[in-house]
């Protein structure tokens, strides 16, 4: 296992100190909220106290009269944009929906929906001004669940929303229905000896990054604007802000600050256009930051969902058919990750007959955004627990049933061409052969569960430039913001190719005017795609270095070789001594000027990721509380550049998955008002809630990538909820079908089982 064809590296695979490390342990690193500018004003957003309401009027006179208040904007201050999919920079998006999410136009669609924004001389004055804005609402019935949204006669959120199936005349809350099919499921189930079918519900959950959203807008009288913010993608902020504000993309410069976590949630815009708009109105820089309550109420959590999953297997554990139905909450505007849920739910297995239906449903909740392998954890909760039940019915070890059916090179995907070389089987084997799975778990109310997960990963566009300094050190400029140590990984790739010390590479993350287009840090793409660009930029440097050496040596470039960091003549002999980059660097001016290596890429050949996890739990049967005793995750990462940060990604995803499994949920009351708007009651795991998370790095190189990188950021969040559910079953004998598996829910299930047992025992008497 752990097949690796990329041995022999000097830098890749080591664990150097990250280049931004000292700044980040001394408090010197500047995150978005840490910037300040002379004359800066502070902006705040007024938010809807209703889940669903028509906005009859907004009166701002009293608020404007408060000393220190400089400007107030509403949706009327933004251009009205077309209600259809349009290009915004590189992506297609419904700009009208995007704009209406930033400031509600006519209708508030969720508790916390932005209504107006204020700029004032202090944040306290801005807050006080919000209290003076008078909004007249006409409350409407809130639609909080996919079931409510889909039922005939449901209250309609968006009067113009239509779907293909229902045609142009029918108002609906169902934005899309997707269907994926292979074989004939009816025939398939006939071959099954065992069929398990269950319905699951998963709660809306938030990414939970510790840094709230922030933005500083600086609008200049010449029509140019600069935005400082903490984002996963500076170029996305530029194109979306430009579109919402109706100004040309080239007139906006986005300076990405350090970012305090994102997990997909900082891949769109909320405050950025407002800060620019308020700056335009006032002539001052305007800084906006969200409170935690605003983050929870009004940014982009991921969908709650209802999923039905039916799977059939023969006695020997061979899966023969699977049928799934998924409906995901999109939030107030279309665009849940249900498509990804539908395409991932069966991806780990080779099943001849499948039918998957998926529905994207608008509800009166915040518009969902990406969250680490968006849509896949919900889906895996269903399929991976149903598979556990089938394994039990077949009398087969739960890892073995995964080995029997596991996808490998050549297995058809739900959509698209068959898989190329992938590492699912290797992750299952890593768990199976690992010390954890082999160890005995003893003690009452303890159980062990396993699950696997799949995520596509993405490629997309990246740019990199490398400047060689006269002292032989290099600066590396990229556009991918560093959310988890990727500066170090990129510098390592450059150092590896150029044969220089990793500490002689200084990585910089540039603003949108200073580097070529680079897509978001997300989709597990940064090491894969930006790393590929860095690799190519370093190759570009080498090509140029060879030319310069050739010039010095009066040879042709192809008569120079570069190996182990040394330039030398291809034909040995003579008195020409090999040169390192340090040696040739001072002579660049005389050979034609500086060397800048460049590369841009739109990376294809994406390597899909798989992970398998093993979790031990102990349940308190009197309170329903679950303690995670031990967790081990195996993940195919292709090639681990900086193993410590690779482990970190695996551990972080597992921790989020455990939070999702046990305690995290959006809790709305019957009026559609979010009740848990703080981190006291939105319960993310603390240090005391998690064991040391053990990691098994599996390296099955991605075909086509020069370093075999697959991307590591996301898939680890996919299997944990299902694995915890399976472990709970093996601990106390109840099959949980709802997330989170909070003490209340689990205790109810335990007591129900106990009561049923007593009834049975009484009947037997």
């Amino acid at each position: 296992m752990a097949a690796s064809t990329t041995n022999g590296f000097k830098v890749i695979g080591t664990r150097p100190i990250r280049h931004d490390g000292v700044d980040k342990v001394t408090g010197r690193a500047k995150y978005g909220a840490d910037y300040a500018f002379p004359g800066m004003l502070h902006g705040k957003v007024l938010r809807s106290p209703h889940a669903h309401a028509n906005i009859k009027s907004i009166k701002i006179d009293k608020a404007l009269a408060l000393p220190g208040v400089k400007a107030i904007v509403t949706a009327d201050d933004l251009p009205k944009l077309p209600d259809k999919m349009e290009a915004a920079g590189e992506q297609a998006i419904n700009l009208n929906h995007l704009s209406m999410n930033i400031l509600a136009r006519g209708k508030a669609l969720y508790d916390g929906h932005a209504i107006a924004a204020v700029a004032a001389t202090s944040s306290h004055i801005a807050d006080e001004a919000l209290r003076l804005i008078e909004v007249e609402y006409e409350p409407l019935a809130p639609v909080m669940t996919v079931e409510d949204g889909m039922k005939p006669g449901a209250t309609i959120l968006l009067p113009t929303l239509r779907n293909k199936e229902d045609g142009p005349d029918k108002e609906t809350n169902v934005a899309a229905h997707l269907q994926f099919k292979r074989g004939d499921v009816a025939e398939g189930f006939k071959q099954a000896d065992y069929v398990v079918e269950r319905e699951f519900k998963t709660a809306m959950v938030h990414q939970g990054y510790i840094e709230p959203h922030n933005a500083i807008g600086i609008y200049n009288a010449d029509g140019h604007a600069t935005i400082y913010c903490s984002t996963q993608g500076s170029f996305v902020v530029r194109s979306l802000s430009a579109a919402v504000l109706g100004i040309s993309e080239g007139k906006i410069k986005v300076v990405p600050a350090e970012i305090g976590g994102g997990f997909g949630g900082k891949t769109t815009v909320y405050l950025e256009p407002l800060a620019v708009l308020l700056s335009q109105k006032t002539g001052h820089p305007v800084k906006m930051t969200m409170t935690r309550a605003e983050v929870l109420r009004a940014t982009g959590p991921t969908s709650g969902s209802t999923i039905r999953c039916k799977m059939g297997a023969t006695k020997d554990g061979k899966l023969v058919a699977a049928q799934c139905w998924l409906a995901y909450e999109a939030g107030g505007f279309p665009g849940s990750p249900v498509g990804a849920g539908a395409m991932t739910i069966l991806a780990p297995y080779n099943i001849p007959n499948i039918l998957v239906d998926a529905y994207d449903v608008v509800v009166n909740r915040p518009k969902t955004a990406a969250y680490r392998a968006p849509g896949a954890s919900n889906a895996a909760m269903a399929s991976e627990t149903v598979l556990d039940e089938l394994a039990e019915k077949c009398g087969i070890d739960p890892l073995d049933i995964r080995l029997i059916n596991g996808s490998h090179e050549g297995t058809p995907q739900t959509v698209g061409p068959p898989f190329k070389r992938i590492g699912l089987i290797e992750t299952i084997e890593a768990i199976k052969n690992g010390e954890h799975y082999k160890s005995r778990l003893t003690g009452p109310n303890r159980g062990r569960g396993v699950a696997s997960g799949f995520w596509f990963n993405v490629g997309l566009q990246s740019s990199a430039t490398i400047n060689i300094h006269t002292d032989g050190t290099v600066s590396l400029v990229i556009g991918s913001v560093d959310i988890g140590g990727t500066r170090a990984a990129q510098a390592m790739i450059a150092a590896e190719v150029l044969g220089v010390d990793v500490n002689d590479v200084r990585p910089t993350i540039a603003d949108t005017d200073s580097i070529g287009h680079t897509d978001v840090t997300g989709g597990s793409r940064t090491c894969f795609a930006t790393g590929w660009a860095v690799y190519e930029a370093a190759q570009d440097c080498i090509r140029q270095l060879k030319e310069r050496a050739a010039k010095l040596w009066e040879k042709k470039p192809d008569e120079v070789v570069f190996e182990n960091g040394m330039l030398s003549p291809a034909q040995p002999g003579g008195d020409l001594k090999p040169m390192s980059i340090k040696q040739i660097a001072p002579r660049l001016a005389r050979t034609g000027g500086p060397i800048v290596g460049r590369a841009t890429i739109n990376a294809r050949a994406v390597g899909p990721a798989f992970a398998t996890i093993c979790v031990d739990v102990e349940v308190d049967p009197d309170t329903g509380k679950t303690q995670i005793l031990r967790a081990t995750i195996a993940q195919d990462v292709g090639k681990a550049i900086h193993p410590a940060y690779v482990e970190g990604q695996m551990q972080g995803g597992t921790a989020q998955g455990i939070g999702w499994a046990l305690n995290e949920e959006y809790f709305y009351d019957d009026r559609g008002i979010l009740r848990n708007t703080g981190l006291l009651d939105y319960r993310m795991p603390t240090c005391l809630d998690l064991p040391p998370i053990e990691t098994l790095i599996v390296e099955v190189p991605t075909p086509g990538h020069p370093l075999g990188i697959r991307g590591v950021g996301e898939v680890s969040i996919v299997p944990p909820p299902a694995a915890v559910a399976n472990a709970i079953y093996h601990a106390v004998g109840v099959r949980m079908t709802e997330l989170p598996m909070s003490p209340s829910r689990l205790l109810k299930a335990i007591l129900k089982k106990r009561a049923a047992g007593e009834t049975q025992a009484a009947a037997a008497d």
Partner: protein
Amino acid sequence: MANKVIVETTINGDPVELLCEPRQSLLEVLRDVLELTGSKEGCLTGDCGACTVVIDGRPVCSCLMLGVEAAGKNVSTIEGLATGAALHVLQRKFLEHASLQCGICTPGFLMSAKALLDRNPNPTEAEIRYALAGNLCRCTGYDKIVRAVTDAAATMAGRSSRTAHGGAVPAETASGMVSEMLAKGEDK
């Protein structure tokens, strides 16, 4: 206009006289008045610990204290943790163990860990986890943070740490730690 007051306090060992509004939190005073932006705002409700500073030897959420309350106190922030250009052992260990990903929670964790080690130079893993429970990290799952603090304590005491970077914790250590945690929970 607001009724600003003069506050005399000590910050990172230096006497400081500052002017602030009574409604400004210590966190606002540090960040906006003194431009010490190393202490971070994560929640403003004392649930995340990103704004942790040490006051008279105790960890405190600077978002839940008024700036005027700092009068006469000794306030330590992340900006004062290193000595000149030399990092504190905790800072060094956080880097060596890759204990930070995005880094926004790091200053708060370092200050909590500093307060812990100043009082208890030889904490158990359960004690470390208890002392850090008021600091949320969403990136790491805490494992590498706990390792760094364990290693820092050992280094400061001149011992070698029982866990090197990376790799899996031996099973008995892991389950022992969990039992200790459970026992501690039981104890309450």
